[in-house]
Symmetry: C2
Subunit: 710 residues, 2 copies
């Protein structure tokens, strides 16, 4: 699943990549710097500004970590089931399991409002590099430069928000080579319209995840609302009348989350030997913990399912990245490319320290504090939403007293609304599950930092991790517990503390707030060290980048940053060089064949609805021949999940939901030999909605503009 886990432990460094080695259909291009020449030259495709703007403003970012697109004038959004899953889980309760069983709103009045889902639509991009760079003056140390830069970015964002009312984010591109202001329209009233059963959305489960051929109806529909009514959106994508064909050019508009292609070799080695193995150890541990909890019974499975799928997906994705980093050919190519560039740059330094050396040093600093930083500041030691809320409240109150530009970045004024949406979410939290997660992570804290570490002893307060976790969960009032739970508390206790400020915090006896306070001094100090090292790297990367623009030209794209990008490629099979060729398009006939081949054992079983209709569907030759999934060479990565795939006419032909296992290496280097993006086919979606789900209203709505551009 190509979801983007925007967790800080998925390394937060991203850098630059140069045009020098750009291959075929490589690139996650900026919408304000699209590869028009390459498209014209390689594919005879002439994109117009209007075409681009329409695609841009039809594209939707799911702030929970994915992409999507408007597909009707009434704010209907299509995305992946697994992108919607976070909301589906939160909407469920002991008697409703929407994530597993699916959902279909009979009328618009039946659409279910999500707890804390925010959608963004990119309205405009402006280059603000000069203003950001002007804030950092010669002679500033890193611990002066970082806050100065942060303040400049916050000021730009706040001015933009005040002037336009739009969400405004300054995005760091080329790891400091450029700063662009992204203005987005924000939707926070988002409702669930339709989702199929997870068995079909995620047919083949973890086993088939990142594999191809594939047979997943990995979609669901939401609707954006404004002022209580369906949003009338100015742009939405029309559904293509025809399926894609082999060799066809397609475009992907979405939000790739993070890539590391521009990392220096020193950074890549740190990833290979340190951060990625650590991430994998984390994910393995969480998979065991969530899996054991889910095995306790059906209700526990429902509670843990979202987390469990997330870590399984992350584990497979990071395994792919590690495999790439451990492939000597990839690293050799990286070393070779860097060697040439580095020599050219260092020859002209005239005695100044090489930016490559600066990066090496800064990376050493980061590696040195990594364990404590991840435990305390990233919060791996406190794996509970109660803790996350406690820290947000504690810091929000403290940061509020400072000017916006001086605050920790997530507390800047222009981000307030998004932060509050999450903090005041009435997502239900389950004490047993939160206790299990917290006990596990406190155990991990103690066994990584050592049981005799002073902070560990203070956090555990003389108790075993399990006893302490139970005590902390019992003593916190920061939950929106399910109403029936013992000890339930008003769900607005978070709001009261948040709004009550310093006095309310001082009066509170909340256990989780106390723990957040206990670790905050060291956590903040670790963050400061990390931010300074990142600033050193940013300046060094900026110098490397300036040099590269000068020597290699500017027709480049920056590493992924969860901002909107344009990719493109051909619908194309692969494996000609291996034991068998893999055709690019699968059908519903293939779905039934695979289920049968696997004896319909989970995760290869069909949902009841599909079993009931099996004879009818199998007798329907047209349905069976309908495409279900297809692959293309488009350059994507986690975060692109749910991205619309359009044809030359800009019409929807598919929805990205995954990459194959060979594509996971795209994190560090593009490859079009075997790496492929995987989409749900748009005609396949319509066929299922019509024939299986009888979702006629939905079909009519998306087809309303199928015969023409709006």
């Amino acid at each position: 699943m190509y979801i983007f886990l925007s967790r800080a432990w998925v390394a937060a460094t991203c850098c630059v990549f140069g045009a020098a080695g750009i291959r075929a259909d490589e690139g996650m291009w900026l919408f304000n710097a699209p590869p028009l020449d390459r498209l014209q030259q390689d594919h005879a495709a002439a994109l117009t500004a209007e075409w681009l703007l329409h695609l841009q403003q039809s594209s939707v970012r799911f702030n929970s970590g994915g992409s999507g697109a408007f597909v009707s004038a009434d704010g209907l959004v299509i995305t992946n089931h697994h992108v919607g899953a976070d909301s589906l889980h939160k909407l469920g309760d002991e008697t409703h399991n929407y994530a597993r069983d699916g959902f279909a709103a009979a009328t618009r009045a039946d659409e279910l409002k999500c707890h804390d889902l925010e959608l963004n639509v990119l309205v405009s991009i402006a280059d603000v590099t000069a203003r950001v760079e002007a804030a950092v003056t010669t002679g500033m140390t890193a611990n002066q430069a970082f806050p100065a830069r942060r303040a400049a970015m916050a000021a730009i964002e706040q001015e933009s928000l005040a002037a336009t009312g739009l969400r405004s984010d300054v995005v760091t591109l080329y790891q400091g080579g450029a700063y662009h202001l992204y203005r987005s329209k924000k939707y926070t009233d988002v409702r669930l319209v339709f989702a199929p059963e997870q068995q079909l959305a995620f047919f083949g489960g973890d086993a088939d995840n990142f594999e191809f051929p594939r047979y997943n109806l990995d979609i669901c529909f939401f609707r954006a609302y404004e002022e209580g009514r369906p949003a009338r959106v100015p742009h939405h994508l029309a559904w293509a009348a025809e399926s894609v064909t082999e060799g066809e050019l397609v475009f992907v508009s979405g939000h790739p989350g993070h890539t590391d292609r521009g990392n220096t070799v020193a950074e890549l080695l740190s990833m290979r030997d340190r951060s990625v193995p650590f991430q994998l150890a984390t994910l393995n541990r969480l998979e065991a913990t969530y899996g054991a909890y889910a095995a306790r019974g059906p209700e526990e499975r429902r509670q843990a399912m979202g987390n469990l799928f997330g870590v399984q997906n992350g584990r497979k994705a990071r395994q792919g990245v590690l495999a790439g980093l451990l492939d000597p050919r990839i690293l050799a190519a990286k070393r070779q490319a860097e060697h040439g560039r580095r020599k050219g740059l260092e020859d002209r330094l005239a005695g100044r320290t090489s930016p490559y050396a600066c990066i090496e040093q800064a990376q050493e600093t980061l590696d040195g504090i990594a364990l404590r930083h991840r435990m305390l500041e990233v919060g791996l030691a406190f794996n509970s939403m109660f803790f996350a809320h406690a820290r947000t409240i504690l810091r929000a109150v403290e940061e509020r007293a400072k000017p916006s530009g001086d605050r920790l970045r997530e507390y800047r004024d222009s981000n307030r609304e998004s932060l509050e949406l999450r903090l005041f979410s009435d997502e239900p939290l389950y004490d047993d599950f939160e206790t299990t997660k917290l006990a596990d992570s406190l155990t991990w804290l103690a066994s990584t930092l050592g049981g005799d570490d002073e902070l560990v002893k203070n956090v555990l307060a003389g108790k075993s991790p399990l006893d302490r976790a139970a005590e902390l969960i019992a003593g916190t009032g920061l939950g929106a517990r399910p109403a029936r739970a013992a000890g339930s508390v008003p769900s607005d206790s978070r709001r009261a503390l948040y709004e009550g400020g310093v006095a309310a915090l001082a009066a509170s006896r909340d256990t989780m707030l106390a723990v957040a306070r206990l670790v905050d001094q060291e956590a903040r100090s670790l963050r400061r060290i990390a931010e300074e090292a990142e600033e050193v790297k940013r300046q060094a990367h900026a110098e490397i980048m300036t040099n590269r623009f000068a020597t290699e030209g500017t027709a480049m794209y920056p590493d992924a940053t969860f901002s909107l990008r344009l990719a493109y490629g051909l619908v194309k099979g692969y494996g000609e060089d291996g034991p068998r060729r893999i055709a690019p398009i699968t059908t519903y006939a293939g779905l039934f064949a695979r289920a049968t081949a696997k004896r319909e054992t989970p995760p290869f079983d069909l949902p009841p609805r599909w079993r009931t209709l099996r004879d009818q569907l199998q007798a329907d030759a047209s349905f069976m021949a309908t495409p279900l999934n297809f692959v293309s060479t488009a350059d994507i990565i986690g975060g692109n999940s749910g991205s619309p795939v359009v044809n030359r006419d800009g019409r929807l032909v598919g929805v990205i939901f995954d990459g194959n296992i060979e594509s996971l290496v795209l994190d560090v280097a593009y490859d079009d030999r075997r790496a492929r993006a995987i989409s749900v086919d748009a005609t396949g979606i319509l066929a299922a909605l019509r024939t299986v789900y009888r979702a006629d209203d939905l079909v009519n709505e998306v087809l309303a503009t199928a015969d023409g551009r709006r």
Copy 2:
């Protein structure tokens, strides 16, 4: 599940424990030093030598990691399903899944011969401490003392084997305080007689594992053969006519694998902060790897199931140990006890280095090499049976040239037969699964030692771990692959190399042999360092122990060593101090109630046979009231799985299969407040065999001596 993973990464250190703090029913007592006075005093139980000998010689050790007992004169053995599981898995193939579906031999001719199962029955114990200690003379350094001691032990074993024909093992007790020669009768023709479905043997799965109340029919039956005929055994246990009652005294005779109660504080801290967290990281990783492989389909699940259950069980067990070590009360008690002893001993040292300090230093040495040692010598980096066989062949040929006493201990003459049984096992190996395991472990090697480590580079030979794993598996002929597999090789290729010796090895182009050779120099050198450090600890522990025998008396038991021990306790509920009291005995009625409460969702589903009979069984009040599982305060640990539980009359009342979660801490300290051993009830077993499985022959066989001692 109370199985003993005799893998080296489950720390191989075990030490001493003193009588000073022995509580109530504490103790894993030696059969040649039973706690007769305590039993007489506390429970008015007068055990005779005859009673003890009968129980000893009815007890069976499963060398795969568990316990069992003879229950008929014709060599019928009862143990746990999960102890037999290793053999059940190996006997299965694509069309037979005995581990999952169970097995019942219609006649003796239908009993299935296991691939490599060895059973041992303890015949006699002799104290050989004086002879072993005489080999180590004053002034020897550790690197002289270790081989001298090893040679003395090997000589004793070889003489005993030659004189008696019995398997002969010198067991190190009290971590060097004593050495006893254990002579055992060995059975290597062992056949599967009966196993229930795993769903019932392991009802509740990983979720209920180590929990109570419990409802597991965790049993199976094997039969020992001699010269192709059922073995006529001199001792076997009669089945008790009545179930246990609350408060009844019961005895457990089995093979607890390993405990750490006598560890010094320095050793415990190393466990807490280093080895146990490392083991957990290993188990988490393997759980993810095996789980992902199992999810690929039913056949893959069958192949991986045994490994998967093993690591899930190990993970839960090690979590329990870690929880104990992280409980400040336990460590405080350990520190306090050590403080007193240490002071007394050190006051009399007259300038010599304290043995406690020696242990601290040796532990530091061990910690320093632990990572490379585990990777290369323990072999975590090469998780494939192909590698294990390659190393055995390589080392067996090299060691053969030396006198038996000078060899690596597992290659001593007296162990040859057991080693060959495993090496020549025709257990099928599956290339896909072996490749998955090897790729995962090579990745782990690279990411823990670093991709630029010279040895890592040599092992990977310029390829990515996945490519290299595939190449190694494709290029080895050491497998007994299933006949239908492509590239299958004669299953006796291992024998040819093993017997062909140096010349055959030199001529071989086998890839896995080449890798084993590549790492062997460093692996052996790490082992040498570890063995010397262990020798230092052994001498230090011996001094501590001598001092303790002198000051605290000799009525002690040593830490568990997978040798036969006697434990005892009362059938007793618990939880009076908590939210609810837990009654000590469950019934079949409870089984059906729990299945219903969990909506019969796996792992709480009943096997088809039980579902079919449900109405009949539920109408049978006598069946429903039959005990299924019970708990007692007996002192057990992993390895006790399958241990017979007998009453005062020495008759079988149950079979140990687990401890509750509170008992996992018994690794470091006994507790009878909430820690409990869990058994399958003997009457419950008979009821199922009669009513559900209609296994009349089996019932008649075990009841043949039910009314009298043989």
